[in-house]
Amino acid sequence: MKTIQNLGLSIFLLGLAIFTILPFIGSYEISSEKLEEIVNNKGIKSELFIEDLKTTTVGKEFSDPFSFSSNITSAIANANVTHKEKSEWDKVIWDKPHSFSYQIAKDVGGGPVKENKGLFWFLTFGLGIIGALLYIIPGVVTLGPAGIKNNGIWFNAATNRGWIGWFAFVFLVGFYVLLYFFPDYIVNWTYVVDPFSESLSGNMASQWFLYGFLYCTVMTVMAIRMYIKYRHNKYQILRTTSVLFFQIVFAFLIPEILVRFEKPWYDFKNAFPLDYDFFFKWNLDDLIANGGFGLFILVWGIVLTVVIVPIMVYFFGKRWYCSWVCGCGGLAETLGDPYRQLSDKSLKSWQVERWLIHGVLVFAIAMTGITLYAYFTGADAVSGIKTQTIQDIYGFLIGSIFAGVIGTGFYPIFGNRVWCRFGCPLAAYLGIIQRFKSKFRITTNGGQCISCGNCSTYCEQGIDVRAYAQKGQNIVRSSCVGCGICSAVCPRGVLKLENGSDDGSTRYETPEVILGNDIDLFEMLEENK
């Protein structure tokens, strides 16, 4: 069994290595006809830009995407400087330089990867999947009889912030930086998934398709790990199945198929304000231009946030979304599961969390308010602030850096729910409802807690569950995503996630006799809060 696992690990690492090398190979050459075609398609009026590319790039072959892209992006930058100085606004190229360069590179790129998409898919994704499964599946035997098997987690350099963890951190952060900011460097990655993209939407794969495909793949493989690790726990199995289903069907397949039928790309489960650009002008215009179906999405999006989300939280807690439906939660609960113990449990981090997450919520709402105001009044600035600027700041800081680079990249260092805990504005909104008006709570089983701390250690949201459990108090916390792991790891059967009655007293309080001692514990609990 150990041999199979080691073999799997080697195969996985080989796949990962090939994947890592891909951006460094290939050939990129743009002909003058191609340039003309692009200039026409894009309606580019900057002769400076065209001249620049003609001298530096056209007709030359580049053997990596970096110098090729850098020529294009600097041509854009140089041209724009001059045009802006001369106030030749119609000549300025407003596209994001690296997205622009991505489109060209994707079009003109060549080399082994583009010519052998299937082969390279196998050498990267294929080897990765096979290797990972060979590593994971023997767990059925090696983990021993079903039960909680967290042996050695704090001894393993991958899961205790050791060197493997730091390595994974650098790798993930690097991946997100490329994905969000330098898509032109990773055209080779997108080639290997082109066949899938074409069969779904009919288009070549964008970097977002690549991301979606990778996301689903990683989640599926790591869900298998969850199925094995928690095979005795039906709650975990159903929850994992649910997040996997919503990711693959709602976040990946349906939107791509919508595109095939020339409908807007839309993820029906992605609720505002997590879906922060839902009310942006371009999206609203796009939806409205799409007639009946667009309107349906518009209405659905609003109803989802205003009606469905709060009602569901009332009945089931925010878990229905955060750990049963959401894509971010889905990745956190599969890929992120090995890192859950790394979340900070200190009181300090709780204070930081409350400021940050509610700050993001306020930011998101303010931005949307300004956007809508601008939309309806036609102004492009509100008291001197350009809506575009606010949106760009939000998109960069929150949408890309926080949710992506930090949110996932930091899994191996800060645990798997950094985004969900500190940043997600939707989680903040759900949390407020969960805290004040919901049937959901984690019930503490009377006096059975032995203060061992497993629950707190494995709470991905950094909740000090034990602090409540050892007082016999139920856990009613806005940040709890109801993953159920605290309950799973508790060796004394102390914690139960349940949707009981919502009348305040039974949700928060504990009966005095339950702790066994008939002194006035009730009063003590009150003081304890």
Binding site: G453, S501, V513, N528
Partner: protein, 447 residues
Amino acid sequence: MEHIVIIGNGISGVTAARHIRKLSDKKITIISAETEYFFSRTALMYVYMGHMKFEHTQPYENWFWKKNRIELKKGFVKEVKDASKELVFASGETMNYDKLIIATGSKPNKFGWPGQDLEGVMGMYHKQDLENLEKYAPNNKACNRAVIVGGGLIGIELAEMLRSRDIPVTFLVREKSFWNGVLPAGESEMINRHIKEHHIDLRLGVNLQEIKSDESGKVKSIIIKETGEEIPCTVVGLTAGVSPNVDFLKDSNIELGRGVKVNRRLETNIPDIYAIGDCAEQHEAIGQRRPIEAVWYTGRMMGETLAQTLCGNPKDYNPGHWFNSAKFLDIEYQTYGWVWAQPKENEARFYWEHSDGKICIHINYDKNTNEFIGINTFGIRMRHHSFDAWLNEKRSVEYVLEHLADANFDPEFYKLHEKDIVAKFNQENNTNIQLKKRSWKRIFQFS
């Protein structure tokens, strides 16, 4: 300002300190020879197994003590001078107290076995024992076999710990079946099977003769009394129960039995000296409980009770209905009320076991009145509140079975067994109990 000194920073001493702080402004000092900060002894195993780091076993962050003005003192108290209200430390220092709380916990039993002090022989109680184990049994290369002597809750935890590092374990149990002084036969046998499933070499009905040493004073092997068999090993874990850690009081005027003798107010024979937790021994047992109860929650309750007493609100220690829980490798165990290993004369029993052999319940009730007495549950979590209420209300076994669904505390979506359980009871007893659907209203009817 009155100075309250607590010897022992375990659950009982710390609980007392916290509650005294909540109720008053007295000066509080906690003394311990073991660690600087309070940690959860029950979690020691998880540190060795790599589930947690030691810091995770500490329920309060380090700033907590200062913020709550609880002074911590590291040192070993070797003498209590009650006449001058003075403590003497091993270092020679002294400390005065106005009120003294003895909360010194337990120590592992050693029964004078030859070789019991060799290198590589250890108990599993203090943090130092954990460090020892880490030293002598870091992996299965340094330790090719460990022998555990004594089949109780700590023994099986130690076995699980060692198995988590793939160290071969031989487990010597004096009884004919695991923990059968406490567990009835059905449960005990289930655990025997489960121990073997975990590849632990379980030896039932055997005693330790002696521990043999190699030339350098380290453990080499053990000899089994009954068979004379010699088992080579490098580590021996002694887990044959614990007893109160009160040797340092032998020369004081404080009345000792096995532990520090106390009354229901937790007072010793000397005014202003109290004892709580594992080291306290009740003059008279409370209900069917033992005079010394070495469990976590009783230590906590005693601490809470004593804090009330010391803060001007005198209370008797009243632990209520018996309950407890443990985990045997992968099988969780909870108990509410009493289920003795052997039924008493007035008792009738109902036992149900799932076909997978890892889930069972055992109900004890009065033959004549049908009053519910207690339940053991393995592999099914049950609600403390429900059973506590039913015991208070003196419910019948029929009532308990009818409402069993209310008491289920397993995570959502788990397979429920109440129907099977009730059906089996009906069949065995010719009754017609109908299982009621779970009702939130009943469950949350707190009084």
